[in-house]
């Protein structure tokens, strides 16, 4: 268990509720395009308007992600990214920021190689607040969900358009922090779902759970952020931010001078209307 006694996720959603707005959840891959630039972006995200930050743990074979986020993983891995480096980034961030929730998102294998017990303890101590694991459905809860919750980490589950009535209870059973509604049956960074279908799904989840709901996949513009923000407590933007990083690389893959500034102003523009 980490030494922080406050639940940063709960207090963030409680603050958002008082401010009558949805939270902006931003995603970046740790170490993209390199460790130093990535940390700079991470440190500036809260003041740009990110209420919660998802940090992708780089993985060579991210099979639920689209080309943008896979490319981000590969850039990171080519420039020193790793699970250890991801935890280092979290530690560095926490030295200056004690309030913004950090959620690690990714695939199980790097954690399995790190050692599950060691990882959940190191992550909690570094200042991680929760985990979103793409390839660990409730059927595999004994692998990481149980040890993570014991270590005091939130276990944020993905609910999808294919999660039927009978599964929804099982999926929500060991969830904490918030519920992540994947708005499309598909991969990250592709098409967008209609607001009406998202609204229906969010109501469905809320009928069975008191947890806040964040909606992600396919949300790229401030209009979408605003629209979904009227339906759910959190709106996740991932690929659009990652794309902004990619577009600010020179032909050799090195960050251009204004990369961090461009990414931060994109986030600021996404946040404008949700505040």
């Amino acid at each position: 268990m980490s030494d922080n006694t406050t639940d940063r996720v709960a207090s963030t959603f409680s603050r958002l509720s008082k401010e009558h707005r949805a939270g902006l959840v931003t995603f970046i891959t740790a170490g993209d395009p390199n460790l130093q630039t990535s940390l700079e972006i991470l440190q500036r995200l809260p003041s740009a308007g990110a209420d919660i930050i998802e940090i992708g743990m780089p993985f060579s074979d991210p099979m639920a992600d689209g080309p943008a986020i896979q490319a981000a993983s590969l850039r990171s891995l080519a420039n020193g990214g790793s699970l250890r480096a991801t935890l280092e980034m979290v530690r560095a961030f926490r030295e200056k920021n004690q309030t913004t929730p950090l959620i690690l998102m990714g695939y199980f294998n790097p954690i399995y190689q790190y050692g599950t017990t060691q990882f959940v303890n190191d992550a909690a101590n570094a200042g991680v607040d929760g985990l979103i694991m793409v390839d660990l459905p409730p059927e595999e809860d004994d692998e990481l969900c149980d040890p993570a919750r014991t270590a005091g980490l939130h276990w944020i589950r993905l609910v999808t358009p294919t999660t039927n009535e009978s599964r929804l209870s099982d999926v929500l059973a060991n969830s904490s922090g918030f519920v992540y509604y994947v708005s499309i049956a598909g991969i990250t960074g592709t098409q967008s779902a209609a607001a009406a279908s998202i609204e229906k799904a969010v109501h469905h989840i809320k009928a069975k759970s008191d947890l806040p709901v964040a909606v992600g996949f396919g949300i790229k513009t401030r209009e979408q952020v605003k629209e979904i923000g009227n339906i759910a407590e959190g709106v996740v933007v991932g690929s659009a931010i990652v794309n902004e990083i990619e577009q600010n690389l020179d032909p050799n893959g090195q960050p251009k001078a204004h990369l961090v500034e461009s990414v931060i102003s994109l986030v600021r523009s996404l946040a404008t209307d949700s505040v």
Partner: protein, 409 residues
């Protein structure tokens, strides 16, 4: 790190796996995104129903006999036996199947299941193109649209198979993500599936992936071992002393091995050692990898300390995969099956030996199995019997082999 422990006490049966969560010991499982999980459960239920259905079995048997050409012969390789001067060598000739490899046993079973489930679109991944061709073939036969994901690198190496798939009406999608090989093709097939869950059936080509695939593919391929038992009893009046098969994902090997797992038969799987298992250019997941989670299951994987999957290398595109089926991983740790490796060079030599002594041009994949037979047979008595799975023919490989031998064709 190796969990191999050959001192495990023998189990009563090695054929009882997987458990109801799809585990073979610590291996297997269902490590997939939530979007896919309801489909995986639906598939599991549909397969359980089909497995016990006499009409499903009758359909499978009908097409196996009249379309694939089963049973494939069990052939006594007399000249090779004389040449090696040891055990009697039999070839299980799955290279004589329609489409030229064992892959179609599985695609037939899966497409019959897809039809039964009312699915209207088929996707598959392929490395060398053999599974892609076998999938495109049954899709043509059963009139279902077919999309095959294939690494851009492999498309270049295997142009004839790409053309075959297109002739059969399949759409071949080049995969450029990652390293553009089989593992990336599997990633992209999973991405397609997750986006088309309602109508699409994913025909996985080997005994890997999330449960129930490893079990289901094994069951369909077990026709190889079941026939072999009957045929060797008829020919020799007894079971063989040893079985040898090559392993990439391991479907032909599992098909041959499974019906023999509880018998007193020595069983050997041969991995692709590439330039050598002490180099970083090989595909021997059991010899050179350690347990991890990829593509829906826990198994032995080629990976670095950070859990990043590393590239496999083999002269044979069909063995060029950084993982292995979870049941093989379990049989390895149990010590029930021996797993060895042979190099590209040894496979090439065995390939040429087979051509000259038996008049059979084998695929590069079973040439790996043969390279081990070349080592093993002379150590065995002349009264002993060895069966090798000749799981594919080599027409597809002649360009790669010519290049390796420095010949221009």
């Amino acid at each position: 790190m190796s969990l191999n422990n050959t001192n495990n006490p023998p189990l009563e049966s090695y054929r009882s796996g997987p458990d109801d969560r799809g585990h073979f010991g610590i291996f297997g499982g269902r490590f997939v995104a939530e979007t896919l999980m309801p489909l995986i459960l639906e598939l599991e239920a549909a397969y359980a129903e089909a497995k016990n259905s006499t009409s499903f079995q009758a359909d499978f048997d009908y097409y196996a006999a009249h379309y694939i050409g089963r049973p494939s012969p069990l052939y006594f390789a007399e000249r090779l036996t004389e040449h090696l001067g040891g055990a009697k060598i039999y070839f299980k000739r799955d290279e004589l199947n329609h489409t030229g490899a064992h892959k179609i046993n599985n695609t037939l079973g899966q497409i019959l299941l897809a039809k039964r489930m009312g699915k209207t679109r088929i996707i598959a991944e392929t490395g060398a193109g053999q599974h892609g061709v076998a999938t495109a073939t049954v899709c043509a036969l059963f009139d279902l649209p077919c999309v095959v994901y294939m690494g851009a690198t492999d498309i270049e190496r295997q142009a004839p198979n790409v053309f075959r798939m297109k002739l059969l009406g399949a759409e071949v999608i080049p995969v450029t993500s990652g390293t553009g090989t089989l593992k990336d093709a599997m990633n992209d097939a999973l991405r397609d599936w997750v986006a088309n869950v309602e109508d699409t059936f994913y025909i996985i080509g080997t005994v890997a992936g999330p449960h129930p695939y490893p079990m289901m593919v094994r069951d369909f391929q077990s026709v190889i071992g079941v026939e072999t038992r009957e045929q060797i009893e008829l020919a020799e009046g007894r079971l063989p002393d040893a079985l040898v098969a090559c392993i990439g994902g391991g479907s032909n090997a599992m098909g041959l091995f499974h019906p023999f797992l509880d018998e007193k038969v020595r069983i050997i799987g041969v991995e692709a050692g590439g330039l050598g298992v002490n180099t970083d250019k090989h595909a021997a997941s059991l010899t050179g990898g350690h347990p991890g989670v990829l593509h829906g299951n826990r198994t032995y994987l080629l990976q670095n300390d950070d859990g990043q999957i590393t590239d496999a290398h083999s002269i044979s595109a069909g063995l060029d995969y950084p993982g292995i089926g979870p049941e093989h991983a379990w049989l390895h740790d149990q010590g029930r099956v021996e797993y060895v490796s042979v190099t590209d060079e040894e496979a090439l030599e065995a390939f040429q030996l087979c051509c000259r002594t038996e008049g059979i041009i084998p695929a590069l994949e079973p040439a790996h199995a043969l390279a081990h037979v070349v080592k093993l047979a002379p150590e065995m008595d002349r009264e002993q019997i060895l069966v090798m799975n000749l799981c594919g023919r080599g027409d597809k490989d002649i360009f790669a082999i010519a290049e390796s031998l420095g010949v221009k064709i």
